[in-house]
């Protein structure tokens, strides 16, 4: 039970190792370099970081080459990545795609697909949103039809996280049997991928056009609704954990700046308006952290109300991260509005995270529905 409210010594040690690694390998100078690239990350550099601590292997079962660890552990990874603003296809690969494969795939499919992800050889993503911009499965129009040469996908997907670079793409489609998941290679014939211009340059999105793309089923065709929904809940929790890491970093940086910035002969941190703002920021970020940790542990515990906790965590993280970013720019003053100052990097990540997988309003409504209200 207590894992909902604390981390073990091993977990704390893992966190500090990871924090050191990311501070070393992904300082903001590196973030700025990578965010200007079309890919958004560098394969070899990401591989080196990933392999140092086996990050993509964390939640992959041991018989598929992973460590079979908990969401609590993966939450730490995401929180630290959010804090460092790491430019890497981790969320797309290890949360979205691996999650869908673990939840939907047959044993044979898992054994075929997961070891390469665990080893950091394959990057992957999940493509489910279309132009109607629904975050659930209801907007799915892309079709899967059986032809003599196999299953063919026709339609489009958009807002696909790291979709332009992923080696493997898990696709949500409508088959005659019902909602289904398929996998296609990033280089499949008939697949056109276009990198979209992302407001947050540290998180890339792509639009994918499917014109008779040959696809392999993932799990039982027609029965993807439950595993897909489960994957969304897990992704929501993981994103919330990533977000609180970023929010805390912004809060700390804004505090450090206020302590050294002198105006009227005193540090601006000595003004009560600054102190009270910082107290409010701390409160908001800590509440969001508690909810993110709770939801991750709730996934591990298999709680019945895990969906409600997931929605709650994402709603709080969305509000807290965005509000902290607004305060952080304000506390920095003019310099905070410049490109050279780092605050805008997290500000944009806050915005993109707020919207990705649904904003605070969306999740609050789902939370209430889950509480049978």
């Amino acid at each position: 039970m207590t894992v909902k409210f604390s981390f073990s010594n091993e977990q704390e040690e893992f966190r500090s190792n990871l924090r050191r690694l990311l501070a070393d390998r992904s300082p903001t100078k590196e973030v700025r370099r990578l965010m200007e690239t079309d890919q958004g990350y560098e394969r070899d550099e990401w591989k080196a970081i990933n392999n140092a601590l086996g990050l993509t292997a964390i939640r992959i079962p041991e018989d598929c080459g992973g460590y079979g660890l908990s969401f609590g552990d993966q939450g730490i990874v995401l929180e630290e990545m959010g804090r460092a603003l790491l430019c890497a296809p981790y969320f797309a690969t290890a949360v979205l795609a691996a999650g869908a494969i673990i939840n939907a795939g047959t044993e044979a499919e898992k054994e075929a697909l997961l070891p390469c992800i665990a080893a950091g050889e394959t990057t992957a993503t999940l493509a489910w949103v279309e132009d109607n911009a629904r975050w659930d499965a209801e907007g799915t129009a892309l079709t899967a039809t059986a032809e003599s040469s196999g299953v063919m996908l026709n339609g489009h997907k958009t807002y696909v996280v790291d979709g332009h670079t992923a080696d493997l793409i898990v696709v949500l489609a409508h088959a005659p049997q019902g909602l289904s998941l398929f996998t296609v290679d990033g280089t499949a014939a008939g697949l056109t991928r276009r990198a979209l211009k992302s407001m947050d340059p540290t998180r890339k999105f792509a639009r994918l056009e499917f014109d008779r793309v040959n696809a392999r089923p993932l799990g039982v065709v027609g029965e993807a609704a439950a595993p897909f929904a489960r994957t969304m809940i897990e992704a929501t929790v993981c994103l919330a954990n990533e977000m609180v890491g970023g929010a805390e970093r912004l809060r700390e940086d804004a505090l450090a700046y206020a302590m050294m910035r002198m105006q009227f002969g005193r540090p601006i941190a000595s003004f009560q308006s600054m102190k009270h703002k910082q107290a409010d920021m701390l409160l908001e970020v800590e509440l969001a952290k508690s909810a993110a940790y709770y939801a991750a542990a709730s996934l591990d515990d298999g709680d019945d109300d895990v969906a409600a906790s997931a929605h709650l965590a994402k709603a709080l993280a969305s509000d807290a991260y965005t509000q902290t970013a607004i305060h952080a720019v304000q506390i920095h003053g003019g310099i905070g509005f410049t490109w050279d100052n780092d605050t805008h990097l997290w500000f944009k990540r806050a915005k993109s995270s707020e919207v990705l997988l649904g904003d605070a309003q969306y999740h609050r409504e789902l939370m209430l529905q889950n509480w049978a209200a």
């Binding site: 409210f5 302590m259 009270h276 107290a279 701390l282 409160l283 509440l287 508690s290 909810a291 209200a373």
Partner: protein, 418 residues
């Protein structure tokens, strides 16, 4: 000597209770027995009614009390703060005189800190105590004193030296409340209740042996009391639950809880009654209003997260880890929740928010929420003071500049109080 651990403590407590507990005792009689045995306050020193147990094992003993249904020592009200303060700073004579009657619940206590001129700034007290002849003579006024009209004893903070800077001129006394020099007047609040009092001192007397700690050390002693007050605030509700079982001792306990808790009747309303939000939304048919749904969800989410944050702090404490910032946020969080809840209750009430008493829904309970919530962000340290504490002690931001700590208190500008 047996090892002290959860198992041995549980076995010992169980054996003692099984042998001694009976519902036929009178309340005071049973509590005297508890005090003698050390099981009533097992974490206190064995010399003073305790058993020298580590605080961490107290819940084990409490579980055994609950299991068998045994009544514990008196725990409600200011008496607990008095006990903690006297244990920490009192003389043996004071401990002899007060501790046992605190545990049995025979004496009622009150706290005399706040004054009309010093609310957030408690150390700015101007009630004076002067040593005349062979005793202390007290003049001045205190306010927000719960149970002053029933109290036998008061914990008094008074100024004894006006030439010292603010914090160094204070002394701490135990004052006999049943004396001619003390007048108590109830203070009516904006929600109509009168849970607190104003206390006026006109040449009230304190015997020299009722000084707690030394002259001039009153602020340190006050800090002890306030620390226990903050710690105990959460537990207030759980103490207030009396058993519903039949039996003489339970009857007497129920009476005690009813009288002691009387001033706290509206306390659930001041924190916003979020437990009623969904029920009220259904009852009013506004459960389908998307705006109302969002507002309810905001309150409930914040409240849940605040609860989880408090659990994080408690877990860290239990595991002996350094507590992070999460331990200092509860008070501020609860006032934000209360305010937001009051707003939603207003939306749910619609025009009914215009009415109160038996003309208001739920016999005026909802109206009571609206006019009680403002207390939440003031009592026990205002939101502004909480934010100062968080920013200064948790975030290490520069302390507020004060104009009163480096000069004799008599030269400090202060409020004019009639």
């Amino acid at each position: 000597m047996t090892e002290i651990n959860e198992e041995t403590v549980r076995a010992e407590a169980r054996a003692w209770l099984e042998e001694n507990w009976s519902t036929d005792y009178g309340l005071v009689e049973w509590r005297r027995k508890l005090a003698e045995s050390g099981w009533g306050v097992p974490h206190w020193p064995s010399r003073w009614y305790g058993g020298d147990l580590p605080v961490g094992l107290v819940p084990v003993v409490e579980e055994e009390f609950k299991r068998i249904g045994a009544v514990g020592v008196a725990k409600v009200g200011i008496r607990t703060l008095a006990a903690a303060t006297i244990l920490a700073h009192g003389t043996d004579l004071q401990k002899e005189k007060f501790l046992l009657r605190i545990l049995t619940g025979e004496d009622i206590w009150c706290q005399l800190f706040s004054e009309p001129g010093s609310g957030s700034d408690v150390a700015g007290a101007v009630t004076r105590a002067e040593f005349r002849g062979n005793q202390w003579v007290v003049n001045g006024q205190k306010v927000w004193t719960t149970s002053a009209h029933k109290a036998h004893w008061g914990l008094l903070l008074a100024r004894t030296d006006w030439d010292q800077p603010k914090h160094r001129g204070l002394s701490y006394f135990v004052i006999d409340m049943k004396q001619p020099g003390i007048t108590v007047q109830s203070l009516r609040q904006m929600n109509g209740y009168a849970s607190f009092n104003q206390v006026f001192f006109t040449d009230a007397k304190v015997e020299p042996e009722m000084l707690v700690s030394e002259v001039g050390n009153g602020w340190a002693v006050t800090t002890t009391t306030l620390m226990h007050e903050r710690r105990g605030a959460d537990a207030l509700r759980s103490w207030a639950i009396a058993s519903d079982k039949p039996g003489r001792i339970y009857d007497e306990e129920r009476d005690e809880v009813r009288t002691t808790m009387e001033p706290y009747k509206w306390y659930p309303q001041r924190v916003g009654r979020i437990d009623l939000l969904l029920e009220r939304a259904r009852a009013t048919g506004k459960i389908d209003d998307p705006v109302i749904r969002q507002e309810i969800a905001k309150v409930l989410a914040m409240s849940k997260a605040a609860e989880w944050t408090a659990r994080r702090a408690r877990t860290a404490q239990e595991q002996g880890r350094p507590q992070g910032p999460e331990g200092s946020l509860g008070k501020l969080a609860s006032s934000l929740v209360a305010r937001a809840a009051a707003r939603v209750h207003t939306s749910l009430l619609g025009p009914d928010a215009l009415l109160t008493g038996e003309d208001g829904p739920m016999n005026g309970l909802l109206a009571e929420i609206l006019v009680s919530v403002p207390a939440c962000s003031i009592a026990g340290g205002t939101d502004e003071i909480q934010r100062n504490i968080i920013s200064e002690r948790v975030l290490n931001m520069p302390r507020e500049r004060t104009g009163d700590t480096d000069k004799p208190f008599k030269d400090v500008p202060r409020n004019i109080v009639a």
